[in-house]
């Protein structure tokens, strides 16, 4: 039996209670909305992108602790990254939570994002952890229609 504390780590509970970079972004030039139709989670990601770099980021939305914390930690880990870097980070994050390449190795070098590694033991929750990231990618791609986890 996996310990719930592996899933609900203190960092996750803390970001759920006090989401960072939460709210609209005054100078946003890219935005996207995402929904998880299964549970009704909704998130919007706002970006300010300049010269191929993310110089500002915020999010808004409602959802479970995993999806809110994931969005919050994501915004913290994006600032001043290049768009390509951000995309690459999503790939790595996805591999880690979906355990695509086996457990254990993927969280190396992920910093705070490694707190979400426990999600891989809860397949039903992978979409909660990746909703904000899918939405981020849509924003980076400049898609303005809502993305869905389905």
């Amino acid at each position: 039996m996996s310990d719930l504390r592996d899933l609900y780590q203190e960092l996750i509970l803390d970001h759920n209670r006090k989401p960072r970079n939460f709210g609209p972004l005054a100078d946003a030039n890219r935005s996207a909305r995402g929904v998880n139709p299964l549970c009704g989670d909704k998130v919007a990601v706002h970006l300010h992108v300049e010269d191929g770099r993310v110089t500002g980021v915020s999010f808004e939305g409602t959802g479970c602790a995993i999806s809110i914390a994931s969005a919050s930690v994501m915004t913290e880990s994006l600032k001043e990254r290049s768009c390509d870097d951000a995309r690459e980070l999503f790939e790595r994050f996805h591999r880690m939570v979906a355990a695509d390449d086996g457990a254990g190795s993927a969280e190396a070098g992920m910093g705070k994002l490694a707190a979400f590694a426990g999600v891989r033991d809860y397949p039903a929750r992978v979409k909660c952890a990746t909703l904000a990231w899918h939405t981020l990618r849509a924003a980076l791609d400049g898609e303005d229609k809502a993305v869905s986890t389905e």
Binding site: L4, Y8, L38, C39, G40, G63, Y122, A124
Partner: protein
């Protein structure tokens, strides 16, 4: 949270021997994450008794063949078993004739059939269809589709803060353009038992037919379609201890007769030529193609099982567990019920502090407790109550007060993990 009054739906009945009932359900011996399974997701689908599982296996092992087609022995046997199941279902809902029982894939298909065939034939631009604000999506979307196609208008009876329909608004919605009313017998998101008999009589006074979505009604109380005088009653086998993939549309013969067929194919015809086709009699007109034979036979076994327990006894038992759950959970601080209807059946829907339903579901799962978390295919209900999602615990004949205690203790674990609530 104050006390919530719940009135028993069916009144007292003979007591059910729950310990014995539990032995009929093999899955209840399973454990989940090392804990005994506490299955409280019965409104999504109920577990199956051994008699149903074995009946389906016996069909495949000794009777498997197509029905209504062969003159050989197996086909005769399978056809008889299939039609016997129809008879069992007819008696179960007290319909007048076997031909008023149409086997479909489930409540969803039954409603789609009526929307398509009755709605398709009777709706014109400017006509109105009346539904309620507590529908499952399957009693919204089929009507939306046909209304859009015909230029008809979907009207919605509002519900109050307790989760009861506002009757006076219902009466005002019924008018000369109303072509059909479609209502849930019991709400899957709130547990509300609607006064369908009274609402049907109200519609009939203006000559308007009524479809009852009985997906959550038929499993929990004796349904008498003639006493209700409903024109259509839709329900699913899998929510009443039968197999998935099969359900029933009851329809008054005169209405079904007048409706065009739903799908074309084998079994639904008498004669076919390239010029014209003569449709088969009821109910076969609506049962095109090889049906879910094993499922139908399994549903027949489920109906027999329920009848054997006594639906009144099941109902009384569920009311008792429900009343206990309402009282016990009302004592859990931070818990708020979503829906406190005057009459409710078999389920409670709630939120807990500001912990999201999904997180609660995951934590309860670790305790072996299966509940439904989310919008329950009733997004308009969530909007009405201003919540994104709820936790729903729904009860069946095999649930116990002790399982309600396990649920309440599980919620204390949620509280500890989320620091307070």
């Amino acid at each position: 949270m104050g006390q919530v009054k719940t009135e028993a739906w069916n009144g007292p009945g003979e007591a059910l021997d729950v310990a014995r009932v539990r032995e009929d359900f093999p899955i209840l011996g399973e454990s989940v994450h090392g804990k005994p399974l506490v299955y409280l997701d019965n409104a999504a689908t109920a577990q199956k008794p051994r008699s149903v599982i074995e009946r389906v296996a016996r069909y495949y092992e000794t009777e498997n063949s197509n029905i209504h087609r062969g003159v050989h022995r197996l086909s005769e046997q399978a056809t008889r078993a299939y039609e016997d199941a129809r008879g069992a279902v007819r008696r179960f809902v007290n319909a007048a004739q076997d031909r008023e029982i149409v086997f479909v894939r489930g409540a969803t298909e039954a409603i789609n059939l009526v929307a398509r065939c009755y709605g398709g034939a009777n709706l014109e631009a400017g006509d109105e269809v009346v539904i309620s604000a507590m529908e499952h999506h399957s009693n919204i979307v089929p009507w939306q589709i046909i209304c859009q196609e015909k230029g008809a208008i979907l009207r919605v009876i509002p519900i109050d803060d307790r989760g009861d329909v506002v009757m006076e608004r219902y009466h005002r919605l019924l008018g000369p353009r109303t072509r059909i009313v479609a209502l849930p017998h019991v709400s899957n998101a709130l547990g509300t038992v609607n006064p369908v008999k009274e609402m049907i009589a109200d519609a009939h006074r203006q000559g308007i037919p009524v479809l009852v979505d009985g997906a959550q009604g038929a499993p929990h109380a004796a349904v008498d379609v003639r006493d209700l005088d409903c024109d259509f009653y839709a329900f699913s086998s899998h929510k009443m201890y039968g197999p998935t993939g099969v359900g029933v549309l009851y329809g008054k013969a005169a209405l079904l007769e007048a409706m065009p067929p739903y799908q074309g194919g084998g079994d639904m015809i008498l004669t076919v030529s390239f010029e014209a086709t003569e449709y088969n009699a009821l109910p076969y007109k609506f049962e095109a193609g090889t049906p879910n034979i094993a499922g139908v036979i399994g549903m027949g076994a489920a109906v027999e099982y329920l009848t054997g327990l006594g639906i009144e006894a099941v109902s009384a038992h569920e009311d008792r567990v429900l009343a206990y759950a309402v009282e016990r959970l009302a004592g859990v601080s931070g818990l708020r019920f979503v829906g406190t209807p005057a009459r409710r059946a078999s389920l409670v829907s709630f939120v807990f502090g500001d912990v999201h339903a999904h997180d609660i579901g995951t934590i309860l799962d670790q305790e072996g407790i299966a509940v439904r978390t989310g919008h329950h295919c009733a997004m308009p209900v969530m909007d009405r109550f201003g919540v994104p999602a709820t936790v729903r615990a729904s009860f069946a004949c095999y649930n116990t007060e002790a399982e309600v205690d396990v649920l309440a203790e599980g919620l204390e674990k949620v509280r500890r993990l989320f620091d307070g609530v």
